[in-house]
Every structure is written in structure tokens, then in C-alpha cells.
Symmetry: D2
Subunit: 364 residues, 4 copies
């Protein structure tokens, strides 16, 4: 159980090493009858593509996806959907010098502690390239959610100390840093330039919003919506923290400040605030679901760093190769993917929560 299978009903199995032949994902449990084509998946993949923007790794992969099964005449058939992206630009020799040395901040040491063997080329299975398969699966989840009127989007909320101060959704796709604030994006770009010049890297925060999720999604105790989202997002390589709604700031508030009072709006239940981030008792309340993930700075930096080698001897390492000085902008679509996959799975699980709903499906 190397942990590459995720989900209960909408279940994905990802595979592939950074510098292996290919990467891919098999999606089992996608409802039949959903329109899918390679174009839809490619759109999301292109958003995380290396080389897509100035601050990303210089590696250029076409990252062209192929659908190998599960779709017939443009529609899902209910059977496993196999998606594959063949690697075309694996410069393996770039990595030969780190074959026996453990890079600080990377999984080299821990992976080898676990398995006793390591595909050292480009991080192998622990490479951020692994997220390609998540994004491909996320695109399928997006197509399903769209049928239900659910819209999930994420953006860069901060890079280093630069936070967004305004919000314009259209701007997200307009700047290479995926910030919904043009002016913040400019400041962040300047910060990035400085970091690159310093042979350094920076972290940041991604925020994700899910609109249109009906009330009632999420299971009561362990498989709560927020708990499931926390796992989903924390499983992305560089994430070190996850929060929902008011998050860590809730720890500083009084109950009278943090509680969201209920009200009636257009004859329907609504809330006067959304500190809960759309989730109460682990179950969606019908308002926007709001989540933030903290990304650490890219561990690959070109400065000399102290480390050890396979023989447990101290060494100095200077990491060469192509690396993102910040992972945040390319991670935006990865966060979206994990959130969509998780919400869809819980939506499908929730279908049997009431016997009345079971009867809706089976009674004539």
C-alpha cells in the first residue's frame, strides 16, 4: 500500500516517476454519461505545465494527455478511465550527481529509509511532477461537478510576504503568479526576481473556493468534509498547513465573534458571516467552502547546503537542474484538483444518506 490510491466511490490510482517513461492515472467510479475529451483535460494540465511561465522550471514537456479507456463516443461509460502522459524531456544526466546524496528538504533520505531503493532521477515518485496525474483526474471531477452546478477555483493568496489586497477573479489567469490582484502580482514578481538572483526560493499561500456545493456533504465523524479536504491538500508535496474558513485565526477569537449567525435570505437559510468556511460539524452548510494551504519554499536551491550521503558522511551539495523558485502558481490547479476530487467523492457517497433518496433512484 504505497498510498497512490485515493477516494471511495470516485477512486483514483496515480502512477509514474518524474523521469520514467510516463505518468498517469486510472479513475474508477466516474458516473457514466459525462462528456469528456482530451481537450478538457489538457486545459487543466497546461495550467501546471513546466515552462508555462517565467518563474517555473525550464524543463519543457509537452505533457499531452491520452485517454486510453472509459470514454466511448465522447462520454464516460462508468468503467475505469485511464489517462497517460508520456515523458519526452527526461534529462536524466542532470541528476546523476545527486544519486548518492540526500537533498535537504526533499524526500530522498526518507524514501530510501522506507524502501531501501530509490529512483534518484528527478525525485522519482516524490517529484512534484507526480501532481500531473492529480490534475488530470481533477479535470474529470470538474466535468462531473459542472453538471451539478458546482464551481471550484483557486488562486495565489500570497507569495512570501506579498499578500493580495483586492480580488478580481478574471485577473487570476492573466498573470503568471495566478494572483487575483494585479498590483500584488507585480510586487510578488519583484520579490521572485530578487530571490532568484539570491539563488533562493520562496513559499506562499493558495486559497481555494467551492461555490454551489449543496448543504449536507461530508460524513459525520472521521470522513468530515473539512478533514477529507485537509488530507487531500496536505498530501500535495510542499504543503505544511491547511485551514478552513477563519482557520488559525479562530484560535484568537471569542465565540461571539466566530459564530456565524443564521438568517433567512430569499426564503432560504443563509448565514450573516462565513467564519466556518462553509462547513459545520464536518458537513457543508450551502455557503462557499473556503480553504487555504501553506506551501513551503522550493527546497531545491542552488546555494551550497550541508547534507549527508548514503554512507552517512557529511557533504556539501549544490543542486543543479531545472527547478521552480516558487511552487505556488503551478500548485494552484493542483489544489483545485484535490478539492474537486474530494468534494465529488463525498457528493457521491452522500447519495445514500437517506432512504428517501435511495427510493428516488430505485422506485418506478
Amino acid at each position: 500500500m504505497s498510498g497512490s490510491v485515493y477516494g471511495n466511490i470516485f477512486k483514483i490510482s496515480t502512477w509514474g516517476e518524474s523521469h520514467g517513461e510516463a505518468l498517469g492515472v486510472v479513475i474508477d467510479g466516474c458516473p457514466a454519461g459525462v462528456h469528456i475529451d482530451e481537450e478538457i483535460i489538457q486545459q487543466d494540465l497546461d495550467r501546471r505545465k513546466p515552462g508555462a511561465f517565467k518563474y517555473g522550471t525550464k524543463r519543457s514537456e509537452s505533457d499531452s494527455v491520452r485517454i486510453l479507456s472509459g470514454v466511448f463516443e465522447g462520454k464516460t461509460t462508468g468503467t475505469p478511465i485511464s489517462l497517460v502522459v508520456f515523458n519526452t524531456d527526461q534529462k536524466s544526466r542532470d541528476y546523476a550527481n545527486i544519486m548518492n546524496v540526500y537533498r535537504p528538504g526533499h524526500a530522498d533520505f526518507t524514501f530510501e529509509s522506507k524502501y531501501g531503493i530509490r529512483d534518484y532521477r528527478g525525485g522519482g515518485r516524490s517529484s512534484a511532477r507526480e501532481t500531473l496525474a492529480r490534475v488530470a483526474a481533477g479535470a474529470i471531477a470538474r466535468a462531473c461537478l459542472k453538471e451539478l452546478g458546482i464551481d471550484v477555483y483557486a488562486y495565489t493568496r500570497s507569495i512570501g510576504s506579498v499578500n493580495i489586497t483586492t480580488f478580481d477573479r478574471d485577473e487570476i489567469m492573466n498573470n503568471p503568479l495566478c494572483m487575483p490582484d494585479k498590483s500584488a502580482a507585480k510586487k510578488a514578481a519583484a520579490l521572485m526576481d530578487k530571490a532568484m538572483a539570491d539563488l533562493n526560493s520562496v513559499g506562499g499561500i493558495v486559497e481555494c473556493v467551492a461555490k454551489g456545493v449543496p448543504a449536507g456533504i461530508g460524513e459525520t465523524v472521521f470522513d468530515k468534509l473539512d478533514a477529507s479536504l485537509a488530507k487531500a491538500v496536505m498530501s500535495i508535496g510542499a504543503v505544511k498547513g491547511v485551514e478552513i474558513g477563519s482557520g488559525f485565526s479562530a484560535a484568537l477569537k471569542y465565540g461571539s465573534e466566530n459564530n456565524d449567525c443564521f438568517t433567512v435570505k430569499d426564503g432560504k437559510p443563509a448565514k450573516l458571516s462565513n467564519n466556518a468556511g462553509g462547513i459545520l460539524g464536518g458537513i457543508s452548510d450551502g455557503s462557499d467552502i473556503i480553504l487555504r494551504a501553506a506551501f513551503k519554499p522550493t527546497p531545491s536551491i542552488s546555494r551550497p547546503q550541508k547534507t549527508i550521503n548514503k554512507n552517512i558522511q557529511e557533504e556539501e551539495i549544490i543542486i543543479k537542474g531545472r527547478h521552480d523558485p516558487v511552487v505556488v502558481p503551478r500548485a494552484v490547479v493542483v489544489v483545485e484538483a484535490m478539492v474537486m476530487i474530494t468534494i465529488l467523492d463525498l457528493l457521491l457517497i452522500n447519495m445514500s444518506a437517506r432512504i428517501d433518496n435511495v427510493k428516488k433512484i430505485y422506485e418506478n
Copy 2:
């Protein structure tokens, strides 16, 4: 799948409503041969017992656990361990007035949206009393981890704006707020008194440390140790954020600051810092695992609050009954429990990571 089953190998199924007949847990997959008795479990249960300290709910339950199966002559047999605590102090009438009204910050509205029916007595299944079963299962996990030399402990790091500034492990059990800093505990107590006088409540942060976890625990992609811990801890009622190691502050750091350089100590791999919180690439690195959880202030406050009722009409509510003005101190042992259960499960899963280890078990 109402989501009350947790874990893969060490699998727990919890059950019970706040004001039902009893609460309990069934633990399947506990290794055979571990010494267990009711005393061991009771010790942990007493730490979350209502009425155990001044700032907790006034409800007094004896919370006496009984082992109904899976233990024979003082040892686990490998079969399911069923633990039960019968309720003895269910004052149901206290809650009759909130039968048709949704309390702000609680699961009343979302639970009813999901199931169309709700045991309104004391929060039913969504009550914090549900965590009793987690703590009971956690005590079994603790006994297993002890056999492997692993020590997990948590404490209150902050209540409202009061943070600990010193650390004395022995102090944790000495003050009712479970703070490892006597002076901070005094300040927090003053803050609590003020909040109670104001008919208000406060939040706080719990920190948890796991010592002695060997390198190599956690699965590579989705079932990462940090991702699994995030789910485990976020599934506790009032938690709104989880972070590992440097957590959210990593988003503000440069790579050169956040990376932990490797070194050799006593001939063994070690690190010069622990921003990673003991986890790299989702796998334990052998240093302390460090995690923090942000708890929101108790939503039950005795002030009047705006809300709605079942007929989607606006109403004012004043919540009566017995409630904790802060959940943090009683949640400390719950966080420990979830962390222990999760680490144990991943330890058992990891046993088959290498064929060499498989041979160790099966070859004569």
C-alpha cells in the same frame, strides 16, 4: 458510509450519541499479545472527562469503560476489541428548547440537511462527547506504540492570545489548562474567567509531539504521514486548521531558511533544524514529529444569538445547559489519540514496504 470507521490495518469503528444509552468503539486489527486492561484506558478517558476541571462542562459522567471482547487473560488476541461507556447523566430535558432551532456554529442545521432527521439531545452524534470513543481507541494505540518505544504527548500551546513561552513537560498534567508553562496557565485562567463572566468562549492551539517514530513511516502520495495526520486531527469537532513543523510560517520563509540541513550525530543521520516537523515527502525522517491544531471557540455561548428554526424563520436563541467555555484542555488527549492511532496504522502498513521485511516474518 456515515464515516465513523477510521484506519486501514488498525481500524476503529466508533458509535454513540451524546444522550443515547452508551458510546463505544470497536478496534479491529490490533496486534495480538499486547497487554491491555481497563485501567490503562480509563487513565486516558479521565483526562477528557467532563467535570474534571473548573473550565469544563458541569455534566458529570463517571465515563467508566468496559472491555467486552478481544482481550483474554490480560492480552489482546488479535480479534476486535469492543469498548463501551454507558451514559449515566443524560439530562435530556435541558435540550428540549433547541429541538426545532439551529444553534450557530453547531452541526444542527447541516446534520438535518444531510439526514432529514436529528437526535437533538445534546448534539447527538455531533456532540464533542463523541471523542470519548477516540480516546478509548487511542489508549489501545498508546499501549502498542509503547512496545515500540514511541512516545506521543500533546499540550495546550495557546488559549486566546495567551501563548506558552517556556516548556516543562511535567507541568502539562499539573494545571487544568494542560499548559507546559505554569505562568502562561495562570494568565490563560484569568482570560477564561473574564470570558465566562462575559458569557463568552475562547479558542486556542494544541501542539502534539511524537518521539521515537522510526524513519520511513508514511506512504508516498496520498497516504502521506502529514496528510493522514491532517485528516485525523481536522476530524476533531472544533478544529479549523492543522500545520506540521514550521507550518503556515513556512509560507513566509526563504528556502535557505526553511530547509533542514542533514548532519551526522553519533554515527547516525540527523538534522540541524526541524522545520519539517519530522516529515519529508510525507515520510517520517526519524526526528520528532510536530503538529499544531487550531481550535475555534466553543460555539455554545449563553448570549442571545440570531438564528433560524426548522420552518426557516428567524429566531433569537439563548443556549442553556452545560458547556465548556474552552474545549482546548479537554481536547489535548483527543489530539494525542488521533495522532497515535494514525501513526500506529501507518507503522503497521509500512511493514510490507520491502520484500526483505516480508522475508523476516515468513522465513524460518
Copy 3:
């Protein structure tokens, strides 16, 4: 993972040893809104109760079930349903003489090989008494299936060489052997009397029918309906074979004989025969689901048998205590239970097979 958790959506966790304090089951994922009371469960439990008929064990347990959670005002709430039966007649001393000896045909030797420890009292977890929890969970599944118009019943098809030759459903509950053929039941009773006089035991076959299962239930590859039923039924203690429809006799037939031709009946799809036993390609076809399970003779016989003890020395054993000379009649309701639990789980899983059905639940 000692394997006492079963199901995906409708998930049951059973626990309890034959001579422990109690046995029980926790059912997670039962849809909310189903009428349940202890009476409904007791009815099924009474059908497998020891001492209920002449050929059963002489042990007399009241086997009274208690519902500890998950039901509120007579209806399921969607949360875990905890059912418990306390043991009242554990004559542990009866078993003291087999503490260090492995009974032929029993799990004593294999259980101890696995866990290194064994609750030897009455077979511990491997006792047929374990099935009590399956039957209790099955009664809940039956209540759910009834709401969908699905009717599952089983009966004794043969005991030793005595087969039924006629079928009268009402007769099943009328004779102690649960045979739908009064005359066969008489012959079987004579066979039983002879076997008991000979200090011997006999086997037999249980047949189970599920009526009203809609077409489309069962998943395509591994979680086929027939595969799932085979596991469900083979997991009952003494079962050594399972077959669907024409079963083993299909191996002797020509394709032209075994294929069921489709036809139209009352404007609906129908079949001219049912060799498939209601399942094609692992998916229900709308006709009756038909399954048979072969039970071995009770291994506990009072004749002297060769065996070995814990010190791997040969010994002779004469098993004393209270044992059924045939398990088949009491197993009838256990087979029903496992079939109902399995069909219900797959019915709930199937709800999300089509996006159209997902929309039925979520679109207003």
C-alpha cells in the same frame, strides 16, 4: 486488520467471543429514516438461537438484543447503529479440557498459528456464535430492502443425501430443519437421529433466493454481485462451496443449453430460463438471484479422534460440550443475512453509476 469489518457504504463491524461478555455489531452507513426496533432484530436472532430446535446445541442463551445507538424515535438517524447481545450462559469449564489440544476441523490450530494466543473457551472468535452479529446486521439490511420491495429468503435444500423435491415457502418456518418440503424434512430428521446415535454429524446445502432486485446491481470487474455474494457466504464458518444459478452443473452443459434467451413479458425484458441465477457479467438482470452454499458436517463430534496438542505431540481427543449435529438449519438465516447485507451495499454503491441519477438527488 483481523477482518471483522465488512461492506463499503453499508459497513458492519462485528465483535465478540463465544464465551466473552457479549457479542455485537456496529453498522455504519445505514440510510436515515428507516423504521427499526429491537423486535425486528430479535425475530431474526431467534431463528438462529441455540436450543431453538431438537438438533441444535443444548446451550440456552436468551440472545436478547439491545440497540445502543443510531436509532431515534423509532427511526435510523444515519449514524452508527450499535447492537449488543450479552452472554448469559457461558459454561467455560466445559472447554477447559481442550485448552491445549487442537480439535480436528476447527480453527484452534490455525488461529494459534496466526496470533500465538487463543481464547480457547468455546472457539472464541471462531465460534459459530460469531454469526449472531451477522444476523443482527442482516435484520437491519432486511428493513432497508423491504422499503425497496426486495425480498430475500433461504432454506435447507439438502441434509446429507436427503434433498427437497417439492417447494412450499410456508413450510420453511414449519419444520425444525427449515426445509420447504415436509416429506424431505421428515426423512432428514430420521437421518439426523441416526447420525446422533452414531456420535456423528452431517452436512447439507442452503439455497437462497432474492426477489425484486432491479437490473443493474453489481460492479463490473472485481466487485461483481456474484463475486461479492461468494465472499459473503464463503465467510460463514462451515461453508466449503458456493454456486450461482446453474453453478457447478454449468461445467457439464453446452452453451446452447446454458444460455438464457431473452424475451419480452408484459412489455418488459425477461428471460426464458434462469441458469444465470439472475446475474450476467456480475450485474443483476432483474430476475431472481439464486445461490447455493455447501456446509460441511459439524466438526465437533463425540467420537475419539486423533489430533495433536500445543507441544506438537499426538493425542486422542473426545469433544464434550453442546454442539449441533448439523449446522444447516441454523445457518439458513445467516446466509440470508450475508446475502441481504451484500445486496444492500451494492444497491447503495450503484446509486452513482450514472450522472443522471446523481442529478436526481442534487438538482432541485
Copy 4:
């Protein structure tokens, strides 16, 4: 959850339609350090290859497997192993005439009832070609089991009324019917020739033996070894019955005949007979595991058959295309595969059954 994921620790996800672009499998949880290459997998695939023998379908696929991930320098790395076989001989037009008609004995009708859409080309996902992925995964399991000294093999026990009467393991690979009895193979060939001339098909029985499985494998209640094997094998397309050891004949025996007495052989526990088929109480006893599966005759026959079409109108159908008149010989390696995958998974699960074994892995 279309049910194409199988296993707990050693978890496989299969995908692919008969006439799609490719078929494949992703194996998650294979222990690291096992020698694997394409040759090893190809050997097993060639045994189920269409066109490999006179009585198989005439379709000729090269069925060349490619390893796309999870193997580095000839060894498994612990990460998902992705195997793919591209289709090269998809004559889709052969199937155009059955696009709107349901073939008797096939999944056409039930698949469409379930999903409302069907890839009618060659049976789509319900084609026997799906088993290719099982065999590929089985070859990986075989490599793991070999490291533990476990040997699994299957053979044709009967075709129609022709049973084997002698057993010569070497003969299995020598005749196209995979019978361990040369003379029976000749008679079965004659039977086949007659059936083909009659435009008919026949069924048969496959027997499988697992040697060297240590005592203690299999979980106590639901995940018994025999129950798991029953599901594994019943999930193969045409299987209608599964039995272990004495199987259905046990229902006719007396306890004194069916019990296997224990004895001591070479200082070790042994049995005087093996009616149990190596499994007691769902747990392996150290002797040979023996299982039989009944296969129905191939449903595709070239005779006219009554059936219905999509508009629920009666029609006559004559199935053209390339079909096996008997599936049994090609199914032999599929049964082996499912048995190996299942035993390996339960072997890995069993590693944590005792705390002593856990300590063996983690204590220095």
C-alpha cells in the same frame, strides 16, 4: 466505484476495453526490492494469449506488455507499477451488428441497465480480454511469492464430461487444454471438435493448488482466506461456482469422514487428510490450498438464439466474430493470477497479526 480496484495492501487497478486503445493495470503496494522485468510478465500473458491454441479465439494480438513505472534498474521500488498492453487487432466492424441487440449469456443487457451506455465493441469492459490485466498483475504477485517459497499452479480438471484421472504436472503445459492427464486431454479435444462442428460450446472446471503457504494466513471473520479466494475467482467472467477442498461433496459426508485428523510429521504439525483444502476457520493450516472453479460454456455460439433488442423487441441473433468454444484452458492462468494476488495480499496483511512480528521489523 465501478469495482476495478482489488486488494488491500497489494492493490491493483485494472482498466481497458476489449476494443479500446489499450488495457492495463496499476499495482500499488508491491514490496520494494523484487526483481521484475517484462519477460516475466510476458510469460504469463502468453499463456492466455488469444490464438495460442486451436480451440481459442482466432483474434491475434501480440499482447506485448510494457512496464511504465515502479521498476528501477530491474527491481521494484515500492511505488505503483503501471503495466500496459496496446491493442493492435481491433476489428470493430465485426461487432457492429450486435450494437443494438443483447447477446444471451453476456453482460450486454445488464451493463446497459446499469450505466445507460455501452461500448458494444467486443464486449467492451465485460470482455474476457479484461483478464489480461489480472494476469499481468498476477505475474508480479508470482515474483513476490517465489521469494517466499510459495508455488501456485492451476490446470484444467474437466472439460464438459471429460475429467482427468491421472496427474502429471509437467503435462499441463504440454497440451493445448492444460490438462495434467494426456489421455483425458485427447478425449477433451475430441469433445471440443464435436462441439465446434455443432456450432456449440462447452464448460469445465479449473483446479488450483498453492504450495508452501505458511499456516496463519487469512483473517478471522469476513476476510477469511477461503472467502477472499471465492470472491477472487468468482469475479472471473464465466465462473458460476467455487469450492475449497472437499467442497460441495462435504455436504454429503459425515463429520467423521470429513474431519482431517492432525498428526506429527518430521516433528511438525501435519494432517492425515486434506478435506479442508488447507484452510480451517478461514486461516491457512500449512498444507496445500486446493480450490476449484466451475466455468460455464462460452455464451457466444454461432447458432441462432432468441433475444431482444434495445427497443425491447424480440429478435433472433447469430453471433459472428472470433470466440473461444471453451474458455477453460485460457482461464487457467487467470485463476492462478487471482489466487496469487489474493494470497499475497493476505500474507502482507498478516504481517502485523502479532506484536512480536511488529517488533521484528522496528526494533534494532
